[in-house]
Symmetry: D2
Subunit: 298 residues, 4 copies
Amino acid sequence: MTEPTWPRVGVLGLGTMGGAMAANLARAGFPLVAWNRTAGRTAGLEALGVGVAATPAALAAATDIVLVCVSDTPDVETVLFDPDGVAAGVAPGTLVIDCSTIDPAATRRFAARLAAQGVAFVDAPVTGGSEGARNATLAILVGGAPADVERARPVLQAIGRTVTHLGPVGAGQAAKAVNQVILAGTYLGVAEGLVLALKAGLDPAQVVEALSGGAAQSWVLANRSGRMLANDYPLGFKVALHLKDLGIALAMARETGAVLPVAALAAQLESGLVATGHADDDMSALARAIRGLSGLDT
Amino acid sequence: MTEPTWPRVGVLGLGTMGGAMAANLARAGFPLVAWNRTAGRTAGLEALGVGVAATPAALAAATDIVLVCVSDTPDVETVLFDPDGVAAGVAPGTLVIDCSTIDPAATRRFAARLAAQGVAFVDAPVTGGSEGARNATLAILVGGAPADVERARPVLQAIGRTVTHLGPVGAGQAAKAVNQVILAGTYLGVAEGLVLALKAGLDPAQVVEALSGGAAQSWVLANRSGRMLANDYPLGFKVALHLKDLGIALAMARETGAVLPVAALAAQLESGLVATGHADDDMSALARAIRGLSGLDT
Amino acid sequence: MTEPTWPRVGVLGLGTMGGAMAANLARAGFPLVAWNRTAGRTAGLEALGVGVAATPAALAAATDIVLVCVSDTPDVETVLFDPDGVAAGVAPGTLVIDCSTIDPAATRRFAARLAAQGVAFVDAPVTGGSEGARNATLAILVGGAPADVERARPVLQAIGRTVTHLGPVGAGQAAKAVNQVILAGTYLGVAEGLVLALKAGLDPAQVVEALSGGAAQSWVLANRSGRMLANDYPLGFKVALHLKDLGIALAMARETGAVLPVAALAAQLESGLVATGHADDDMSALARAIRGLSGLDT
Amino acid sequence: MTEPTWPRVGVLGLGTMGGAMAANLARAGFPLVAWNRTAGRTAGLEALGVGVAATPAALAAATDIVLVCVSDTPDVETVLFDPDGVAAGVAPGTLVIDCSTIDPAATRRFAARLAAQGVAFVDAPVTGGSEGARNATLAILVGGAPADVERARPVLQAIGRTVTHLGPVGAGQAAKAVNQVILAGTYLGVAEGLVLALKAGLDPAQVVEALSGGAAQSWVLANRSGRMLANDYPLGFKVALHLKDLGIALAMARETGAVLPVAALAAQLESGLVATGHADDDMSALARAIRGLSGLDT
């Protein structure tokens, strides 16, 4: 009796998130090939025995499962469908897993185009940030056909802690958009509360502690109030990326008829943060906008 | 050596919160007198050996510590300063503890008027709801002079789990206002996220579970998403009371120059809930407003 | 046959608005007495033959019609009901006209207290600004019993161009609140449009001209876009006063169940303008807030 | 000496706006060819002597100036660049005028693609509604190279009253977006004011009249308050189209860093109106949302 064969996995995109996923997949024992748009991100991975492909098409031709982790909808379209993209090299029967956070409607279109080539598709955006990617503690939100999701599961379990199958292709992206909308309100609620505490002359750190056991409790209050009080916003999760994700959520909302006034306000404030040079701040910099309006830092 | 004498405590206001506090104080062994504006709330307490006073003045004359737990700023003013109010009967050296949620500026005025009679004052609003009051697990936010707070502490420890001294008189109320502002954003964020999930055809309970381990985690998501999804809002904490508290927070914000756009929006939506007959819903009914705007229940 | 006697008129409050009203009443021929909280505002009026009273009580005792023009609800209460206020000197049969902009509910209470002394009351807040006061072109919004309004009319026609009787006591103030709410949206709409024009690299003055003949046309676009584009906000109408008026409107809205999200947002932004030192800017400085959020002036 | 030759004009899109423009061009004497995606819109035009083309390509081949008037960015892309679109039939030297309201960035891309074929392009979105189109009183906002705009001017003057050249290609669309943003605030301001008037028990028509001479004056107050008070919203300008235009403005804002909180709120409320079956209401139906939140119509 032969041992089960480990699928060959290719990782497209070696940024903070994709690079950490690739390292965790290599450590878990998957035969791995990687590719990045810009060179020089593969050095650490080659030390782990990871092969490097010249193009997404070459990577797809050499693997059973292609994991994509890039920035935005057009980036996914590029790595999948450009002349040297996945679709140009992929064999029928391959599975594409997209861990990027992109538009659910575009996701369904991409999946349909790949299906016409006999290629399966699962969307699998993640939450948990760079720390979660490094420690393989991501929460992974999955959309796809049940059999495809089961096939993706061992790969996903090597990079995250929880894998939730939420429905057909696009459902993972839709759930990720829900997450970003909840964050908008929670961050703004905490930011406004802390600005009021500062203005009222309270010791805000003491207020945070006093409120943390009650109904105001949240991950944001516990983990991001310090940055808001220091008015210093190291990463984290970039304002510009959350703004991109709110753009996806607001487009979904418009298509489906959901009314999201707080998410829409957060997008405006984040747009202003980008316009004032704070695109790369952690998204807790929403507090910077509230502080500025209130005259705290002028 | 004599045993320390337990102070005689009077409780003014036997609503859901005050009644539960009185019961816990009686069980803890404090000699207790109670009063309520409307009769018929004292039956259960008399079975616990609690005396009943005819007026706040009479109650104050018979006790060392007066604990007030009524609805709003004018109610506190009434029980303290009406012709048969606390000030008409109180002896110098008495301590008044106000557990109501009211305006911090009015709190400072009331304390100053009592101080002129030699009466000490501590503001001690609470969070944790009716359940916290019943189980003596409230978080208590305290403002006052250090010696007065220490004197209040045994009483407060009998009705709550954490007692945080946040500064001089009014600081407890200010911290409570901060709490209500944070709630506004967190509830609206969760409500908007869930409406988007429903509109996108996701199983929202599954989404809640998938997101609960990440940055979207909050007490509200864990404990109030069920009501929002059922569109049914049993108590809890009434919309009308949270609206009253946001009124306090927004007045503080105007005085101190804090800019609170989400809290202001929440107040408008809650005002609309009151106008449409939902004043007594739990405040998670903010989701009712978002659902209605999105056409979910029409 | 004798000529009709002109009523003796007293003016309480000689600020920008009240001073101009007094001058117009004197020019129209009314026998006039004036009073101001702080001295030194009566010089110009004395040259017009206006008498000066030592207190509101003395002024009321010497006149048939008392016109009040002060800043806010507490100021009106003070000049009417302080120990040397109107109520202490007024004879039954006198008419009080309040041209201040204050709370409609407080207005009804004040009218009721004066009615108990046999004194009639009309609320008559104005729009049209300092220019309208000087040129007697104010629009005057009147609440009161029909006979009282007819009695007030000759006085009001001497200080304004249109006099509209809108209902019982308080109706004038309610209509003024409506005016301030409409302004909030119109100013913010123009401010946002102009900031977008600037950001898009258009010549905004040309855009204003091109749009002025269409559905975007408004007094604000025609008369305040220049200030917004120059980011310079001379008076006009102070931010702090519009914020006070929005406070009245939002309190009315809460009492009556009107939901005003844009007015609530404008109040937050104006609160921030006050906090950042712009209380005395013209209210077109709402554009300052939108510009600042967009990084135009940093 | 020969008379100047009138250019042959083709009109693509015969909806409410394009149909009226075509009729006015025919009446002005331009030799005219028309095309519409769906048949049956050309009957009235044929009576005016207008020819009908089978495809946009055929129309372009037969004319000197092509005027496009369709709904949205993808529609313009379709009529220009589909296999039987304008680009497939057009001769070098032709001028394309786009009177649709679409995205300025897409406009610049379309113009560049046509320029590669030697075809000139002018964007010329309009304001003034169906009435303005019928009566040739539109305000036309034009972007393009000066010579191209001068060439377009006689055509534009036949369909509108004012023709403003605002800058290079895209500037007309950008100015139109500014217009739609100003409308958002003005409509919401009027809607909130009228709801407050209704809730306060005022006669709102009388309030409108009293306020119309002052700072609250606007085209919206004068022309749309009646619909808002009747809660009946016949066309006009469709909610769904204004929502589309706000989508363009908000995308521009994000690209350029303009912060538009009121426009963003209006888009959310309009999205809700679409979700609740009111897409075809006049955009004054923003008042429907404010009325509904305030419980006026339940």
